[in-house]
């Protein structure tokens, strides 16, 4: 009796979310995925080719290079941005004078649109007359400037920019999570003589548990799927050095062209197969993290 009542209530609360997700989330993905068994270029007939697209994915070195790049990019971004944002959130949560201003400062990068980032980071990093190199040369830190967007350093540069753009987001999420920790816990531990570092280790981290786990999972997914800021900064170049999985995928659907360039072919069929494999990679990694972090929480 109570059980059915509960179920009815649950379904009624779930309904708006479920129906929107099904119709405008799942169905469109299924629509795109059905082309993965076809050769379809956006016009004419879609020709059924079975698993051909998947065997092409297996041999597509450009794609697998982009997968490797994605791991480097996502790994770098996460390893830098998560600890930094957690640290900032812990510092700016309580007590410190000027913390409201500092929070606003660290949030600022997240409001800058990607189109603007293209211009701004070119101004900073370009090797010919970028502001960063001008600065480094002026203070004799380098003699000839560093090729920030060149083949050697481009990946590092896009990671730094990604970290710059992400720290504010995760800091806010962590800060919001920290609000659930009652003030008196800190007060009583301070009376017991715990210092700030000990408080962080024994109160903040454990009590932030579920929020932190979720934020890190979202951060992993975002990092693995990220491509927009890379697209505007380097378009995946030079020579594929910063081409990540979802940028490669995006270009299959929307190839780069331009005046004077040859007409472009949209690879709907092959693109869908690549999208499927990419989703699988993101999904597996996220789930592995999810279950691993769950187990760690339990043993803790």
């Amino acid at each position: 009796m109570n059980k059915t009542k509960n179920a009815v209530f649950s379904y009624s609360f779930l309904f708006p979310s479920a129906i929107l997700t099904l119709v405008l989330g799942i169905y469109p993905i299924a629509w795109a995925f059905r082309y993965m068994f076809y050769n379809y270029k956006g016009y004419g007939e879609a020709r059924f080719t079975g698993l051909d697209n998947f065997s092409r994915v297996l041999h597509d070195s450009q794609f697998w290079d982009s997968v490797v790049n994605t791991f480097v990019y996502a790994g770098g971004k996460l390893l830098l941005s998560i600890p930094l944002s957690l640290l900032l959130a812990a510092i700016l949560n309580r007590g410190l004078r000027g913390r409201h201003l500092l929070r606003a400062v660290f949030f600022m990068p997240t409001v800058i649109s990607t189109a603007v980032m293209a211009v701004v980071f070119f101004t900073i990093f370009n090797s010919y007359n970028g502001i960063l190199n001008q600065f480094l040369i002026k203070f004799n830190l380098t003699s000839s400037g560093i090729d920030w967007l060149g083949p050697k350093h481009a990946m590092l540069t896009v990671i730094l920019v990604a970290v710059w753009g992400a720290v504010g987001n995760y800091m806010l999420l962590f800060l919001a999570g920290l609000q659930n920790i009652p003030e008196d816990v800190y007060e009583s531990s301070a009376l017991d003589g715990a210092n700030k570092v000990q408080q962080f280790r024994y109160i903040t981290l454990p009590m932030l548990g579920p929020v932190m786990q979720m934020v890190i999972m979202l951060a992993i997914i975002t990092a693995l799927k990220g491509y927009e800021s890379i697209m505007v900064m380097t378009e995946g170049g030079p020579a594929g050095k910063t081409e990540v999985m979802f940028l490669y995928l995006y270009k299959l659907f929307f190839p780069v062209g331009g005046n004077g360039a040859s007409a472009q072919v949209q690879e709907f069929g092959y693109g869908s197969a690549v999208a499927f494999v990419s989703a699988l990679i993101v999904g597996i990694i996220s789930l592995v993290y999810f279950y691993a972090s769950k187990r760690m929480n339990r043993t803790d």
Partner: protein
């Protein structure tokens, strides 16, 4: 002992200030850039404008039709925020608190949309659906699609919900509160910080959305949002981009997000240990 804390404090402040400086530099360059001529900005050699072009702002305001498009953007962003928070928090509540058949399936579905979705790739089927619903030339189509992409907000609220003690639900139930009432009167107010961040992120996402408003207002220029106007600014009346106007327009369009930030920041401050006792 005292010197040790002093040293610690100095290190902390040096870290904070250096990091704040590095964080702000690109922002400052954006703002300074919005006052430069197109040549100076595109050449990219200077930090301060050699000639302050305040007229960039006037041109951007007029060419991008700011006064009209801002209203459209606000409608889209605010409606999306309210819709997303409502839909996602209701779902997060029942998924976290209740047991029912199909829960795992639902969560799997939400996760799945996050693994895959690339806006531009699923645009075509989404648009086709809206054509069938006759919403393809209205901002409602945009809003519905934006609300439908609430998976990450769902997961965020879900994790915040976990932090709210179940004893509160239990106490409410004993007092004769229905689950629905418990949600509105007890859970939602305690979800403040999560809702605050969720609102801020949703607002920012909807405010910056470009492709959806572009295609849904193809035949109705009067419904265009600010991002579409800003893109029009960039591709002015010449073969080269009007980057200077775009920067000025972008600086203006940041302001509403900052206002949203101020409100969101307030929502974290509200939450204190006291209200947990509810």
């Amino acid at each position: 002992m005292r010197t040790k804390t002093l040293l610690g404090k100095s290190i902390l402040w040096i870290f904070l200030l250096v990091f704040a400086f590095v964080t702000l530099i690109p922002v400052v360059i954006t703002i300074l850039g919005s006052f430069k001529t197109n040549s100076e900005l595109t050449t990219g050699a200077t930090f301060l404008p050699s000639l302050w072009k305040f007229s960039n702002y006037r041109e951007a305001w007029e060419q991008a039709n700011f006064s009209t498009y801002t209203l459209n953007s606000l409608i889209v962003a605010l409606t999306t925020v309210v819709g997303t928070l409502l839909v996602a928090s209701m779902a997060a509540y029942v998924v976290e608190r209740m047991t029912f058949f199909g829960k795992k399936l639902y969560v799997g579905m939400q996760a799945f949309t996050m693994f895959v979705a690339v806006g531009a790739v699923v645009l075509r089927p989404q648009f086709d659906l809206m054509v069938k619903l006759n919403l393809h030339s209205s901002l409602w189509g945009v809003i519905l699609i934006l609300i439908s992409a609430h998976a990450s907000i769902f997961f965020i609220l879900f994790s915040f919900m976990k932090g709210i003690p179940r004893e509160l639900d239990e106490a409410a139930r004993i007092d004769g509160c229905s689950p629905g009432r418990t949600f509105w009167r007890i859970i939602l107010p305690l979800l403040g910080p999560g809702l605050g961040v969720g609102a801020l992120f949703t607002f920012r996402g909807a405010w910056n959305e470009y492709l959806l408003p572009l295609v849904f207002t193809m035949t109705k220029p009067e419904l265009q949002t600010l991002t579409v106007g800003l893109a029009n600014l960039k591709y002015g009346i010449s073969a080269a981009s009007q980057t200077h106007y775009m920067m000025a327009g972008a600086c203006l369009s940041i302001l509403p997000i900052l206002v949203a930030y101020i409100f969101a920041n307030k929502s974290f401050m509200q939450m204190t240990a006291g209200s947990l006792k509810g």
